[in-house]
Subunit: 683 residues, 2 copies
């Protein structure tokens, strides 16, 4: 043959001719094929494993022969004996191309692994973290050419990995010297290369080839809970996930109470900062234990949080966020050593990255949702709602993205509800009321059966039926309305008006009895008029925020709705729409994104380019401030009712049009009233 052998890499399809004897890894690099290697081709890291295909790809026009690659060599032999190579695998740095060949790069040998996210979203995540491992052989010191160990490490990284410039702090220098000598001047370093700085920082050094991996923590710092995902920075796998209550709760349930605490108590902000930092540090220790890894292997952390938590994490007094014009200390992303955030449990030189905020009320958590859900890349107009004590609302498509936040209060989380509780075993999470009998049936967390199914009582006997959580109360209110037990204005009818003993007098108003467990020593669970009012306030705030963004876009409907947040995953879309929490949309166009903010934190952890992307994105998002927008109040007032709609949800199938009811007068609501309301909402 006069021509050099042809090599075709799959799945990339990249191909080229190389002189016989060229190592597969060399060919892959020259063609830009994504083939991993930590040791730089020394046959010790095994990251460059490939699967050559003999014969079977001849249909592609490649003449594949069994001797297309060089013979299995000693290095491969030793590796196979010690660690074992899967059948059919070769080490890319050892096997040489001898004849035309097709070589498959299995997923685990790709540097930029694609991590398919589970759940609803199909978006894949490309592994390209800010910190990666590099194995290097460093020149030994020479008295005749005196240079420092760091300088010789830098030369090695430049020569062997084409890394132009590195730096290291004093604590790393103190480790580097003994480590180089212990390892015969062959070490693996963890290099952090941010998207804004050309100089890479040596975060850690290990003797020889480091094989215990590298990890990161994605932290979703909420007002109520702190959730962390311990993530393998090579594979993207979540090794452990853990959460704790935010201990700041003792300074105030919601954000504004904490801002007040800071305002009223000298040193209060510092106290809250210290408290949450300690909690995060403890969480880091625990999650490393849970994942079975040395905490010193955690070298990266990313944070998403609302602006108040953002400021308190950074040690900034949040007082400005409690009053107009809601000025942030900084809206940009913040990159800093993790230890400056009080993270002492992980690697001493670990880095932290806090995503940028969008505005004084729309924080890094909303930015993370935008990073995860990518409204700016959506062809259809998507409304993303992250429901919490403060709801973050994003509306957009490829042409423009808008964002606002809305103060929904804690009712959706079961707080301020008479029988309310957090989502925990024993909480009623779903409820149905028969429109004919007006009798309820429900499901509690920890039991798959409905309350009218056989075995329910037995299965719930141990934990009891303890209260109603957020998703339960939303369904309860919507069901009361659908069953005709509540009028347009949200007033619960009396037993006389509704014809059921479930409606009981409760002071000057009425309540609906869901479950009476007093006989078994349990609680009597009702939905009171006060509960309905609390939900009405919350849903009006949420709806008004969404409506305001729709006004800004000049639309009166959206193509699809994404419910984000842990809570969003449990809400029944049908009931949310009956209640008027979210604008109407076809049911199959309402999806849950799970903890999208947490996902955004993980994306920023696993892909450094995503940090640049979200920093660009937040600048492009149009911020709408609900607090100063008069139309927000209008929308809020207008959204207070749970209105009669003539044929609101054809797609809901069995859901009948809501009856026009008014318990104030005891008579039916008039058409005029209903029309007026519709006009306001559809304007």
């Amino acid at each position: 043959m006069s021509q050099d052998p042809l090599v075709v890499f799959t799945p990339s399809g990249k191909r080229g001719r190389f002189p016989a004897g060229t190592p597969v890894l060399t060919a892959a690099r020259q063609l830009g094929v994504d083939l991993d290697s930590v040791c730089g081709g020394r046959g010790i890291c095994s990251k460059c494993q490939v699967a050559p295909s003999y014969g079977e790809f001849s249909k592609h026009g490649v003449n594949v022969a069994p001797d297309a690659l060089s013979d299995w060599n000693e290095v491969e032999d030793r590796y196979n004996r010690k660690r074992g190579l899967k059948p059919g695998r070769r080490l890319g740095c050892q096997a040489q191309i001898m004849r035309d060949v097709v070589i498959d790069v299995p997923p685990e040998s790709q540097v930029h692994k694609q991590v398919v996210r589970k759940a609803a979203s199909v978006r894949t995540m490309i592994m390209d973290p800010a910190t990666k491992l590099y194995f290097v052989s460093v020149a030994e010191p020479d008295m005749h050419e005196p240079t420092g160990d760091l300088e010789r490490l830098a030369q090695a990284l430049k020569a062997q990995w084409d890394i132009p410039d590195v730096t290291a702090d004093a604590s790393l220098l103190a480790r580097l010297q003994p480590m180089l000598r212990k390892s015969g001047f062959e070490v693996t370093v963890a290099l952090h290369k941010s998207h804004t700085d050309d100089v890479a920082q040596v975060l850690e050094v290990w003797p020889g080839l480091h094989e215990s991996g590298l990890y990161g923590l994605a932290i979703d710092l909420g007002s109520t809970t702190v959730a962390a995902h311990l993530t393998d920075l090579e594979t993207g796998d979540v090794v452990a996930a853990s959460g704790i209550m935010n201990p700041q709760i003792r300074f105030g349930e919601d954000l504004m109470s904490r801002v007040s605490y800071a305002m009223m108590n000298p040193g209060g902000a510092q106290e809250m900062t210290r408290t949450v930092r300690e909690a995060i540090d403890t969480l880091a220790t625990e999650i490393a234990k849970e994942g079975g890894i040395d905490p010193a292997l955690i070298v990266e952390t990313t944070f998403v949080c609302n602006p108040v938590m953002h400021h308190l994490l950074l040690g900034i007094d949040p007082v400005e966020l409690g009053q107009a014009p809601f000025a942030l200390a900084t809206s940009a992303s913040v990159a800093m050593p993790a230890r400056e955030l009080g993270l002492t449990a992980i690697n001493a030189r670990a880095r932290s990255y806090i995503l940028p905020c969008i505005a004084g009320h729309v924080g890094a958590d909303a930015a993370a949702v935008a990073l995860s859900e990518q409204p700016g890349k959506s062809e259809d107009l998507v409304l993303i709602v992250d429901v919490g004590t403060n709801a973050e609302i994003i509306l957009g498509d490829t042409s423009r993205v808008l964002a606002c936040s809305s103060p929904t209060g804690p009712a959706f989380e079961g707080a301020q509800i008479s029988s309310g509780q957090r989502a925990a075993t024993g909480a009623i999470e779903a409820i149905r009321i028969d429109p004919e009998t007006k009798e309820p049936r429900f499901r509690v967390i920890g039991c798959d059966k409905w309350s009218d199914e056989a075995g329910f009582a037995e299965e719930t006997a141990a934990t009891g039926i303890t209260g109603i959580c957020g998703s339960g109360i939303i369904e309860a209110v919507a069901e009361l309305r659908m069953a005709g037990l509540m009028d347009d204005s949200g007033l619960i009818g009396s037993a006389a008006q509704t014809g059921t003993d479930r409606c009981v007098a409760d002071g000057r108003t009425n309540a609906y009895l869901v479950h009476d467990g007093t006989a078994e020593g349990g609680p009597r669970i009702t939905v009171t008029q006060g509960d309905v009012r609390a939900i009405q306030l919350a849903k009006s705030a949420l709806y008004a925020g969404a409506r305001l963004l729709m006004d800004e876009r000049g639309v009166d409907r959206v193509d699809r709705v994404v419910l984000a947040g842990a809570f969003g995953a449990h809400i029944s879309a049908k009931h949310a729409m009956v209640l008027g929490m979210i604008p109407d949309a076809p049911l199959d166009k309402v999806s849950s994104a799970g903890n999208a903010a947490g996902t955004g934190a993980r994306i920023a952890l696993c892909n450094v380019a995503a940090r640049a992307e979200i920093e660009r994105t937040v600048r492009e998002i149009t911020k709408v401030e609900t607090a100063i927008e008069p139309r927000f109040q209008e929308h809020f007032v207008a959204a207070n009712a749970i209105p009669h709609k003539t044929d609101p949800f054809p797609e809901l199938g069995k859901v009948a049009p809501l009856p026009r009811v008014s318990f104030n007068t005891g008579a039916q609501g008039d058409d005029g009233d209903g029309r007026r309301r519709r006009r306001r909402r559809g304007a």
Copy 2:
């Protein structure tokens, strides 16, 4: 007149025409005239004061009229009432050019002030520190355009000062918010702009115009003492200078004992690091108090030190510096937050800069000497010797610079000398021995008189005569040789051999009695044979190092000698040459540079470009390692004697040729011996 008015600035001579009504500051900026302004032309900082010259400069061809500048305005009036303007001064930002005018920029109004260094050196220092003050008006937050306070500060710095990019750490963000609001969004910031990074860091923020100045600490961290200069970063003035003993002395007098301590004691290196950092922190507190300034105004620190102190300061185990190949952890400069070096007394965000090292034995102190003395810019060949426990030796001119260090030991500092002591009140610092009578006379620190002058006894009565310091012992040994009381090999003669009772038996050898204070309860001060041997070892090491560099350059003489170090300032050049400490040179070509390392630290503190300069310089210096160079041993052995020279110092005038003496045989040394020695030294 059809032409615009002409303005000529002195002393720069820069000139240009500007439309009538142009403020002087504006014209100065457009012409690149070095006219200061912190407030950016708002008439509040008064840094831009100028002295217009009316009439008197007409000989320069400028038609100067009394109304060449606009009338004194309200802003100047107010400033004059409140603070007072010197007669003839105007505020450059207020006074407008109306007709042709000559304007003098007085030295205190120049940004890049030239600071003339005192003492021997005439080198001037240009003020251009890494951290400077900027007064800015920051836009107030706007709910409709939400940005963070830091981002608005960055915009203001860009618009008002053309500073492209700034960053700030979390602790600054926490201060920025209240400060902006307290000051009506007008603040002064201290911006640190390193020579290696395009992004400036906001180190501090003050409300309104900050007028309490900005300071830096230049720290010379020696094995024995730590000296600091508190320096005004605007004027370059040394506000206070202070020093303390290096508390590491308790772990070992010299560097190698401290390295041994680190090797022998687990945690020993950390212990020494902690000890020295605490001492520096205390020194910083004290010097600020002495200078009468708030320590928080200290925002910059520079360090010079030998490699062992360098490593111990940074928290790096110095063990590698105690053994070949003497590998540094890093030879590059180190820039870091000062608090990471344990400096808690000064500004929390202050920066530290540690000058680069030249080699494992030639540290940042030698680099600082090179920065101060600039051998690479010398037209004649200069030998710079920084005498200490370890001597740093630099030889060079514009063509090439070489450096080495030589282990002189502590004898030159009075240690290991029987009557030795540190240079303190009561120590003999100078001594003369009459060649005829063999009687000594001497001077002690704290008294200007010689011991044979009237009033000496009275003036020294209080402190006593306590011992001999480094410069004293050098003179004593040289004088013993010149008085014929010691032979070529350094052997002190007996009373019989020398004919003086001052030579007394001391075990198996002889000693020379300098002063017997026992009658007054003081010490009996002698120079023993052991003292002479210690000085011979020290001077041989020093000479051999210099000689090695001369070999490398292929020369057998140098044009001039600079004695650096506090000690260098007190050595008699004549005696040093008689002793053979330094190569022979004309006496008027031997100068003292004072604490050149400390000066180098101050230069790096006051001028950021000097940091780039020394980083470049150290790379260009040829390092010579004495420890592995066989010729060093040869030179060392050859230099041990204090040889007979036939006519060694014609320029010394009254110093007679040294007699050829040998007390070993009791006879004169032979010519052959003397010639052989000369040949070795002059080869």
